[in-house]
Symmetry: D2
Subunit: 145 residues, 4 copies
């Protein structure tokens, strides 16, 4: 059982909540979210341990946060399983330790099997990362890729 992560413990606004069950995301994050209809809104406050050689937030951390955001668009915030097929990212500007990172997912299409989601991540009202993902819904675990 995962511990309950509270947004206030990570200086994240209280309207966001934790999506339990993903060990890697909890170790890298934790990340938080709420759903704006079908579209995920996510939040993350990066720390010193997330910084790279340039003292900015590592691209891998940002991509992990973008993937988290995209997958919530696929699952609709529910516990439906999904697997990312492709994730493309552009690193538009640097983010820094202590910035509140806000992710916006835009579900372009949620099909029977595939979901198309675009993501923007903001720091201080500026886009730092753009991403787009194709995600496979795994409603029936016996489905093959």
């Amino acid at each position: 059982m995962q511990p309950a992560f509270k947004p206030e413990d990570y200086d994240v606004p209280a309207e966001y909540r934790h999506w339990p069950g993903d060990t890697a995301e909890d170790n890298i994050g934790p990340f938080f979210f709420y759903m704006d209809g079908p579209h995920p809104r996510t939040a993350f406050r990066p720390r010193e341990e997330h910084s790279n050689t340039h003292r900015t937030i590592h691209g891998g951390i940002l991509m992990t946060f973008a993937d988290y955001t995209a997958c919530l668009g696929a699952s609709g915030g529910e516990q439906e399983s999904s697997a990312t097929i492709s994730l493309n990212t552009e690193f538009v500007a640097p983010a820094h330790v202590g910035d509140l990172l806000l992710g916006e997912g835009e579900v372009l299409r949620r099909g029977h099997s595939l979901v198309f989601v675009r993501v923007k991540v903001y720091a201080k009202h500026r886009v730092v990362l753009a991403a787009s993902a194709v995600i496979k819904r795994l409603r029936d675990r016996s489905e093959k890729k």
Copy 2:
């Protein structure tokens, strides 16, 4: 000063070595590499903490490892600075806790300012991730993006 990471402590073959100075990579990894001429060869042994809901290795971890591999192609394994502009990934197959992940970077072009690198990540001789990156060389830190 970063601690010295030794490949044998992470069940990684001894021909790989650590690239010091990146806090996030050390926290997520550590990752290891050697250069095959201009082409990076990288290694990483993921642990329980890197797994997702499906008990496979989280895509964010794999992307971070791919980015590490691509950036070594840009820097040539030297301490030259670089910044990833774009990174595209396809998740070809799942990887598991304990697998030895081996990354192969292929430098397609190392220009004056931009470097184009493709990456494959293998687990058990099978491709698990394909990635391609555009990376900006930051030889003169005063250069603007």
Copy 3:
């Protein structure tokens, strides 16, 4: 000298105009545009010759139209030169012969050297293609890639 292409000859609304000088785009299109501030709005009416085996519009045609849209975001609709560095696309839904395709470019950042643009292409109010591009501005043709 290119001939003048008129939107009404291609069943495209009159507020769009032609960007002269690109032989390939005129042969594949013609495509039309106007600028909504920094953001390009583009239009194209595909014909029988643009269809693939499935009798839908070929992905290559859609990508060419997306690239046209992205580059207008880089040039700001002026005659400034630019070169696409990367273009990523997701094919969200099919488009058909005779559909009015409408492109929306969103300039995320127009830097000194690089421009980041996202594109959506609509047919009948539905997204058919999502794309994102990194484009190099070539203000000084002596700049090396």
Copy 4:
């Protein structure tokens, strides 16, 4: 019925052949191919009409040729139907009118439903374009995306 395109009429080596049935590809190309086991090898000789403002080959043309190459990796060169889900491209170097463009597809995985293919396009022994694609096999046309 499509006309039969012959490689020699387009200054393409005779070991390549035409894949019939795609109107857009024939209008933009024609393109030619042979299979090296599961991996497609493709050829195309661009003409004046394929050039952009810079007098180099338009990115849209190159992407169309890359998509053709990737889809042959999905179909195995047979008449099996497929639909591109995502295509990512990096424009590594310019190609010119009259160059013999040679495409190399590398099928990373051909699954039950999805195929992962990477592509390199060469001109004069130099990589001009790198691409990666996710393609859906449409063996049963009733399958939904």
